[in-house]
């Protein structure tokens, strides 16, 4: 499979990227692990690919109560990141380790994956539970969007044309917090049939789920089984809605008990 003819621009700076992305059918290319497959399937047929892979925007910085993750940080880098060692943030590295495979984790980027917005992508559940926000930049300036307001549908986000995710900002959890992620994967694609992230902190517990609907979402507070019973859930030939609902309830228990364990280790 070979992508349809396309032009290519290697962005040399963010400004350069914004200028190139002003073209109607232009598409930003980060690591390529989501975009190249859809180019090959010709599901996406941009006129221009703007390669932002060389723009830096990579690595983690901790300070002032938050961890800032460059949009082009790879899954492999998240797996190893010392900035994410606190038990409250443990789910990030734990989840990164389970994404795709070695080759995909070496290339695939956090920002690229979020912008792609696959409804069964793992990491959004973790970042939602942790209350992350995204820093977006365009020619017009910069804005912060909570991840909870970022996804609007399958493969759809609030990103405007010519706008890029530059940073993912995760608040550092208070001492005594713990987090964990549990999922059951489709055996062929590796994507989550259902995935639940749990964040346990002194103020309470937050759960977020993926693979269940149009996009990952935060569960309403309270008993997860009850919350799931009133949630509209997607089903297909691999996993009907009722099966996914049951799976998610079990995974919520598993994620919660692992997160509580992390929290106890922390205190």
């Amino acid at each position: 499979m070979i992508p349809a003819p396309v032009r290519y621009h290697r962005a040399l700076s963010l400004e350069d990227a914004f200028e190139a992305l002003a073209e109607d059918e232009a598409k930003a290319l980060a690591g390529g692990q989501s975009l190249v497959p859809v180019l090959k399937l010709r599901v996406a047929r941009p006129s221009l690919v703007v390669d932002i892979g060389g723009l830096g925007l990579r690595g983690l910085t901790a300070g002032e109560g938050e961890v800032r993750i460059g949009a082009l940080t790879t899954w492999a880098e998240l797996e190893e990141a010392v900035e994410l060692r606190a038990p409250g943030l443990a789910a990030v590295s734990e989840c990164a380790r389970g994404i795709g495979d070695l080759q995909v984790r070496n290339r695939g980027t956090l920002g690229g994956s979020l912008a792609h917005a696959d409804p069964a992508s793992d990491m959004p559940a973790v970042l939602l539970a942790l209350g992350a926000r995204l820093r977006l930049r365009s020619r017009g300036g910069e804005r912060d969007v909570p991840l909870s307001q970022f996804f609007v549908g399958p493969f759809l986000t609030v990103l405007e044309s010519g706008e890029l995710i530059v940073e993912i900002v995760v608040p550092v959890p208070p001492p005594g917090s713990g987090s964990a992620y549990a999922s059951v994967e489709h055996p062929a694609s590796g994507f989550a049939l259902a995935g639940v992230a749990a964040f346990v902190h002194p103020e309470g517990e937050t759960l977020a789920a993926t693979g269940l609907g149009a996009h990952p979402f935060t569960l309403p507070a309270g008993d997860p089984r009850e919350a799931l019973s009133s949630t509209e859930i997607f089903g297909d030939r691999f996993a009907p809605a009722e099966y996914r609902r049951e799976l998610a309830a079990v995974l919520a228990e598993r994620a919660l008990s692992a997160a509580r364990k992390h929290a106890r280790e922390a205190s």
């Binding site: 290519y8 390529g32 690919v49 070695l102 080759q103 995909v104 070496n106």
Partner: protein, 156 residues
């Protein structure tokens, strides 16, 4: 319109003209004659096209060739040194780590990435690292044994 791609392949600087839509695996095979990177599934699942980019295993069917501008690519052809097989290659021969051999270049390069980060991996770490490499003949056990044997040789 073709563009010029310059990169280092198996230690040698190379330049070639590629279309923007050309995948790295095709640039290596058709442009440079390095047919060790195989096109297996062509859907980013099987890992037969795995090469090292600056030492890290990637699927060359899931990258545009132009994304490899300026990087160092190692294919299976570049693993042996001065006519001596790489310890992984030797271990695969000695421990029956292959039957038909189609997946082998990719498996060995993914294992090379693993050993560069973790010189003494246990069987579970090896299986985790090779999850993106499908083999339809050996059943994986001899592959895991081969990687273990290579790790022992390198660390001894």
């Amino acid at each position: 319109m073709p563009e010029t791609l310059s990169l280092v392949v198996n230690g040698e600087p190379r330049s070639l003209a590629v279309e923007p839509r050309t995948l790295l695996v095709h640039a290596l095979r058709d442009g440079l004659g390095l047919t060790g990177a195989h096109v297996g599934c062509d859907t980013s699942q099987c890992g037969a096209c795995t090469v090292l980019l600056d030492g890290r295993a990637v699927k060359s069917c899931t990258l545009l060739a132009l994304q490899a501008e300026g990087v160092e690519v190692t294919t299976i052809e570049g693993l042996a040194r001065d006519g001596e097989l790489h310890p992984l290659q030797r271990a695969f021969v000695e421990h029956h780590g292959l039957q038909c051999g189609f997946c082998t270049p990719g498996v060995i390069l993914a294992a090379a990435d693993l050993l560069s980060r973790n010189p003494d991996p246990d069987a579970e770490s090896i299986r985790h690292a090779l999850r993106g490499n499908l083999c339809r003949c050996t059943g994986y056990q001899p592959i895991v044994e081969s990687v273990r044997a290579a790790a022992r040789e390198v660390s001894s």
